[in-house]
């Protein structure tokens, strides 16, 4: 078991290095650097000026050495300008060059400075991850129990009417990407002109201070910007539902498949013949074995949730991790984008590891030396 985890960790580290290097080299391509030079210094720079800007800011060293500097294993670049000023990766503007540290990179906790937000990357990442954390927590709380219950209910008696209805529902939700369900939800629940809200206003359930659903013009809010300060059911329900919906269908299908397989097993029949009630069989005998496979699926769902988070945060204007990633990518904010990718890669790899280890742990039939 220990060897297995160690080997997995080794592969994981290798993957992490390979992925961050790919992201690093793609963000640091020459045209990107030229764009950065123009956006940072001046749009009307001549080609020569762009070249010298790139050189003066330490982007002219080989890619691999710059990657090392960014990681913090290679000493940061230091250059003496023509006017005698000493510049370097680790030297802050106006600070004494002699006092600056030799290396500054990820390992030293220095994630660089975002050019869009004008703040340290670590600070922005911390804040936006906090926001996304709340979103993910809500999504998980809605998604996992709903999906498991639906999956078990439909897998319990294969081919029954419940099963058919729930399976069709699961297929429909897996066919609805977040940007479609989000659009439909907003049109249905958060528009003052169409959908449910005008009807509720007409019925007097919405739109006046003493109405059942409050004084707002729409049932739910179409943006989640206000949820960043204060989460309420009305501003958070739509984004959470949008992300959860896709996952619910997928996990429910996996749970159903696993449940139907378990329900046809010999020991379930034995238990039934012994006279144990159907309820007891499901709760005591089947459930535990049926939940092993969905566990892996739920864990592997995280990378996809990351996608959902990016789409939903953009759609609902919720300034979390996904929104930050989109801002960094569209504005060519290299350091910020690198920071975001480190987080994303880390999340994906750790969930893969947990899913592998958890699977072995939960399933007594698998024993790895």
């Amino acid at each position: 078991m220990l060897m297995f985890i160690l080997r997995r960790l080794g592969v994981m580290m290798l993957t992490a290095f390979a992925l961050t290097f790919i992201v690093f080299s793609l963000t640091n391509l020459q045209p990107n650097l030229e764009k950065l030079a123009k956006s940072e210094a001046s749009v009307r720079m001549t080609d020569d000026q762009v070249v010298s800007w790139i050189a003066n800011n330490g982007f002219d060293t080989p890619m691999i050495s710059r990657y090392g500097q960014w990681l913090g294993v290679v000493p940061g670049w230091v250059k003496t300008m023509e006017d005698g000023e000493v510049r370097g990766r680790c030297i802050e503007k106006g600070a004494d060059p002699a006092a600056a540290p030799v290396r500054c990179g990820l390992l030293q906790g220095d994630w660089g400075v975002s050019t869009v937000f004008k703040k340290p990357v670590s600070q922005i990442l911390g804040r936006s991850l906090g926001q996304t954390g709340w979103l993910m927590l809500a999504v998980m709380l809605v998604m996992v129990p709903t999906a498991l219950i639906l999956g078990v209910l439909s897998g319990m008696r294969e081919g029954s009417r419940t099963d058919r209805v729930l399976s069709t529902g699961a297929i429909i939700t897996t066919a609805t990407p977040e940007y479609v369900s989000g659009v439909i939800f907003i049109a249905l629940f958060a528009s003052a002109t169409v959908g449910v809200s005008p009807l509720l206003v007409h019925l007097g359930l919405l739109g006046s201070p003493d109405a059942l659903f409050g004084a707002r013009k729409t049932l739910f809010m179409g943006t989640a910007t206000s949820a960043m300060d204060h989460i309420t059911f009305w501003n958070f329900a739509l984004p959470v539902m949008t992300i959860a919906l896709y996952g619910i269908g997928y996990i429910a299908r996996m749970t159903r498949a696993s449940m139907t397989e378990v329900m046809t097993a010999q020991y379930i029949r034995t238990a039934r013949l012994k006279g144990v009630s159907f309820r007891q069989v499901v709760m005591k005998h089947a459930l535990r074995n049926a939940l092993i496979a969905p566990f892996t699926v739920i864990m592997l769902q995280f990378p996809w949730l990351l996608n959902g988070v990016v789409i939903v945060e953009t759609l609902f204007n919720y300034k979390g991790f996904g929104w930050t990633l989109v801002q960094a990518a569209t504005n060519n904010d290299i350091e910020m984008l690198l920071g975001c990718s480190v987080v994303a890669v880390f999340v994906v790899l750790v969930t893969q590891l947990i899913s592998d280890v958890g699977y072995v742990f939960l399933n007594p039939r698998i024993r790895l030396a």
């Binding site: 992925l19 391509l29 045209p31 764009k35 990407p177 479609v180 907003i186």
Partner: protein, 387 residues
């Protein structure tokens, strides 16, 4: 002229889709009449789920084919005075003889939503199935030897596949699908690598089967090489002397990225199935007869893996459609004017809570296509498991 009621709108739209209905009726009549002679495709018509799914998919396929007849207006034209017009509203000043109504309203720059949605199906159905086919070629060509030979080759290829799979898709798109990347020529190199696989696949396919009969082998392999290299030079490097095969650089970039994201998934499925099938007796029999490894892989193992692969193919076209929509939603890739569904949803979402129809129409279209593909895959799975 007055605004149409919802009933009139639906009737008018159904009328515009007339060529599609005719084509669907013909397809279904022919297929159901001859279903016992059509193999797996015929069996599809025994399952109601499969039939519904196939119907929805074919509806969009025929819509894409007959799009020029179905549309009521030019999808790029702007009609002054009709900005954000509600569904069914009449044009302010229609030209003589032109269609007078905006069936599904107009968007924020007064373009016809209905015609854009219909034309969007053409963009999506041109890219998604082709990209999926290429992803399958790459996945199969690499997955077969990885599963069959195992060892170092398998370890290396699996590591690469997991590497791509571990990449968050949106991040990858943001890095790969930018105008700056097109400037560096990286997409061309990607295309140069990925587009080799179909040629390699078919050359090995025919060579392993007919190498005992050089005349036939030379004919098939030669034909593959001529057509393959001709298409390859045009698609990857835009160097086709006759100018038939060519691809817009932005489109090439989108295409290559989608293929790149999809192929590791196919690779994993093929590899897993090969590892399972290669322990069967008929493979051992082939090996004892002295058949070459590539013959066994391509002509013994691959046909026996076709069921799950066809099902996965349908699901994956749906997934590719979703990916293309994602790209459009973030304004990446194809030109901003393009009527593809993702970009149209992105255009419409800014005014979503005031005028939802410009975003809803393509959203529902995309959803129905993916749903149709998923149902079709379900039907195929059910039917292929029966024998």
């Amino acid at each position: 002229m007055d605004t149409l009621s919802w009933f009139q709108i639906i009737a008018a739209m159904a009328g515009r889709f007339l060529p599609v209905w005719v084509a669907l009726v013909v397809t279904y009549t022919l297929s159901i009449t001859f279903k016992r002679r059509l193999g797996l495709y015929g069996k599809l018509f025994d399952s109601p789920v499969g039939m519904i799914g196939f119907g929805v998919v074919m509806f969009w396929v025929f819509t894409a084919i007959f799009a020029n007849w179905i549309i009521t207006m030019d999808p790029l034209a702007q009609f002054s005075g009709s900005k954000n017009a509600v569904p069914g509203s009449a044009l302010k000043a229609p030209d003589e003889g032109a269609y007078g109504y905006l069936l599904l309203g107009a968007d924020h720059v007064a373009r016809d939503v209905f015609s854009r949605m219909v034309m969007g199906s053409r963009v999506v159905l041109q890219i998604a199935p082709a990209a999926t086919v290429f992803a399958f070629m790459v996945g199969i060509t690499l997955g077969l030897p990885a599963g069959y030979f195992g060892g170092k080759l398998d370890t290396g290829l699996s590591f690469l596949a997991n590497l791509v799979l571990a990449f968050p898709v949106i991040l990858l798109f943001y890095l790969l699908v930018t105008p700056e990347i097109v400037k560096t020529g990286i997409p061309t190199w990607f295309a140069a690598i990925l587009f080799v696989f179909p040629i390699v696949f078919f050359v090995i396919l025919f060579n392993s089967r007919f190498f005992t009969n050089p005349a036939k082998r030379n004919l098939y392999v030669g034909a593959v090489l001529v057509i393959g290299i001709w298409a390859y030079s045009g698609l990857a490097f835009n160097l086709d002397p006759l100018g038939i095969w060519s691809m817009d650089p932005n489109l090439l970039n989108v295409f290559v990225s989608v293929v790149f994201v999809n192929s590791p998934g196919v690779f994993r499925i093929v590899r897993g199935m090969v590892m399972d099938i290669k322990t069967r007796d008929y493979v051992a029999a082939g090996q004892t007869r002295g058949e070459g490894p590539w013959y066994i892989m391509l002509w013994e193992i691959l046909p026996n893996a076709r069921g799950p692969l066809i099902v996965d193919f349908c699901l994956r076209i749906g997934y590719t459609t979703i990916l293309l929509g994602t790209l459009g939603f973030f304004g990446l890739g194809v030109s901003p004017e393009s009527p593809d569904w993702g970009s149209t949803i992105d255009d419409g979402r800014k005014l979503l809570s005031m005028v939802p129809h410009p975003a809803l129409a393509p959203a529902l279209a995309l959803m129905s296509l993916v749903l149709g593909l998923n149902l079709l895959a379900d039907g195929l799975r059910e039917e292929s498991l029966k024998d």
